[in-house]
């Protein structure tokens, strides 16, 4: 059967206007370009990655600092004598809050109160130790 001009050349099937102009673009958007857009993470995804990394590094730094601090504070007690008193006092004051200071001051006040020791007990002690009371008179 041979095609006749009447039938073949006039295609009875019509398409919407500009269909073929847009066809390739639509096909590519659901194939090649769709895959390309999936592979490239959007800016918000990149940002999330950066934030996640930053958070991990920060956590590691904090843990490391805390570990160093814990370790070094044990060693501090052994070498206090090498630290000038003024520096040590400064450090203590920086680290201890005022409420703790007041509490300690009250304890110290309580400790400074005269002991309730009788004179008789003192003399007995001195005699036992063979201490001449006249020698220590000035000291008393």
């Amino acid at each position: 059967m041979k095609k006749t001009d009447n039938i073949q050349e006039d295609n009875p099937f019509k398409v919407p206007e500009k269909y073929f102009e847009e066809l390739n673009r639509k096909i590519l958007s659901s194939t090649v370009e769709k895959q390309a857009s999936i592979k490239k993470p959007g800016l918000h995804l990149k940002l999330r990655s950066f934030l996640a990394i930053a958070a991990s590094v920060s956590l590691l730094a904090i843990l490391g600092y805390a570990g160093i601090k814990l370790f070094s504070s044990r060693n501090e007690a052994l070498s206090l004598s090498s630290i000038p008193v003024e520096d040590y006092a400064e450090t203590i004051l920086n680290e201890i809050d005022i409420l703790t200071l007041e509490e300690n001051a009250l304890l110290l006040e309580a400790y400074r109160e005269e002991p309730q020791t009788e004179k008789k007990d003192i003399i007995d002690y001195l005699l036992l130790e063979n201490i001449d009371i006249n020698e220590i008179q000035d000291q008393l």
Partner: protein, 181 residues
Amino acid sequence: MSNIKIDSDILALLETDINKGFRLIVERYSTRLYWHIRRLVILHEDANDALQNTFVNAWRNISNFRSESSIYTWLYAIATNEAISLINKRTRNSAVSLDDLGKWFANSMEGSTWFDGDSAQVKLQNAILKLPEKQRIVFNMKYFEDMSYKDMSIVLKTSIGALKASYHHAVRKIENILTGI
């Protein structure tokens, strides 16, 4: 330019840049495949859907494409399967029997905005729609697209002899219908 020459250019490009190679495939074959599908499914909307599915399917499998067959026959095989799937789905959804499918198509075609044929064209299309599905595919491929029997046998997985016989019978039927015998 012959299909073989076009295919060899595409195949070479697919080896080096698969994205560019696929873009070239779309450029070369989208319109041809549209008309192949359209003649089978009749309605523009259905043809558009089947065509999109064809290329999505092709894209998914492009890495597995083996150059034993040509891009041309590979694409036509996918497109034909998509069209047949759509027709079968329509048959199930609209409860149209296979015997009445031709009538259903004819009514759809003439009622569609996207069909505007004179009386000769309407008669021919109606005659084609009276053919069994596979015979209709063979007739369309041979008559409208002048596909070789060799390529057709690859697309439809049918022997060349059977295809020749099928086309011969299809032509006889259509001629009888058009002449009123």
